[in-house]
């Protein structure tokens, strides 16, 4: 069924319908959802913005591997400036199709993000209803803690890596 759908999706005639410009705005663009309240009317619109990361992006020298593998860095859970690049504003991990990382790195980064969040190092990237201050957390969670990166189990990915290699 899925394969059938894919065939239908990729069929050239459907693509042509989209290219004819049925939608009023360009769909494929980096957008920011904005809400403006004027009296009783609430206007929600998507505004096209240039990517804020464009000028600071590191060029991937080896396009055959994922951007993080190409750098060959050892990322720790305290490197919040790196980890926050893979997060939404509510602290949710971006999916693999958006980060463009390989299986192994995606899993590793998501465990590091969990560690950093438990240690309270990224309190501003959290859901809106959360208490931003880590010292106001429940019971033992309010005290400082740190983690050992070597405890991340990568054996689960190991099997997949063998299959692919």
């Amino acid at each position: 069924m899925n394969s059938l759908l894919r065939i239908v999706k990729n069929a050239p005639n459907i693509k042509n319908i989209q290219a004819r410009g049925v939608s009023l705005t360009t769909q494929l663009n980096l957008k920011e959802i904005r809400e403006v309240q004027e009296g009783k009317t609430l206007t929600i619109y998507g505004e096209t913005v240039p990517s804020p990361r464009e000028p600071y992006l590191i060029k991937n020298e080896n396009p055959h591997v994922c951007p993080l593998c190409a750098l060959g860095m050892e990322v720790k859970h305290t490197d919040v400036l790196i980890l926050s690049q893979f997060l939404r504003s509510d602290g949710c991990m971006l999916p693999k199709r958006i980060t463009g990382l390989c299986n192994k790195q995606q899993k590793k980064i998501s465990s590091l993000v969990t560690m950093a969040q438990k240690a309270g190092l990224m309190p501003n990237l959290n859901p809106a209803n959360s208490k931003k201050d880590p010292s106001k957390r429940f019971q033992w969670k309010k005290y400082n803690k740190y983690f050992d990166e070597s405890t991340i189990d990568q054996k689960k990915n190991h099997k997949k890596l063998i299959e692919f290699s």
């Binding site: 957008k31 463009g100 990224m122």
Partner: protein, 178 residues
């Protein structure tokens, strides 16, 4: 005895005061470091019978860090001696009652149980924050370096620093910012 030798003699047997910032430090690793200063093991004249230990002031003991889930796994046992007098206190419970207790017990347990231990502990001064009495602080002439680097929170970086930090990935073209 020359003036130089005399001053050297004083300096050798004087008790030095050290300060140690326990912010984001593991108390159990720190205790192995602090006990050397408290017992005078860092001095060439050290001998167990030689009373040459220094004073150590530990500040910010409220902000010590434990690895993983050790705050709720580590248990402190106490028995009053009466039947049913046993209590088990978790590390976070002890820390919420007295923020100096975890590091005090760590240093106490890191030393051998001999007659000197109680007197060595008297040279350890622990404070939950940075408020140290002036008459103690004026003695301090050395700072002990922390074991672990203190991590910096993301909201303590300026917006400019976060924005201009080198980026590993860019958003795809059809991404909607959230």
């Amino acid at each position: 005895m020359s003036a130089l030798k005399r001053v050297q003699q004083w300096a050798t047997f004087a008790r030095i005061w050290h300060v140690y910032d326990a912010k984001w430090q593991n108390p159990f690793q720190s205790s192995l470091l602090l006990k050397k200063y408290l017992m005078g093991m860092h001095k060439p004249i050290y001998h167990p019978m030689n009373d040459c230990g220094d004073h150590v002031i530990v500040i910010n003991s409220k902000e010590i860090a434990l690895p993983g889930d050790e705050w709720k796994k580590r248990v402190y046992f106490h028995h009053t001696g009466y039947p049913g007098g046993a209590t088990w206190t978790l590390a976070w419970e002890l820390h919420s009652k007295d923020p100096t207790m975890v590091i005090k017990k760590a240093v106490y347990n890191s030393m051998d149980g001999n007659l000197q231990r109680r007197y060595t502990m008297q040279r350890l001064h622990i404070f939950p924050d940075e408020n140290v009495p002036e008459e103690l602080m004026k003695n301090v002439s050395n700072q002990i370096r922390g074991i672990k680097p203190v991590p910096k929170r993301l909201d303590h970086y300026s917006e400019q620093e976060v924005k201009e930090f080198p980026k590993i990935i860019d958003y795809p073209k059809d991404y909607v910012l959230r």
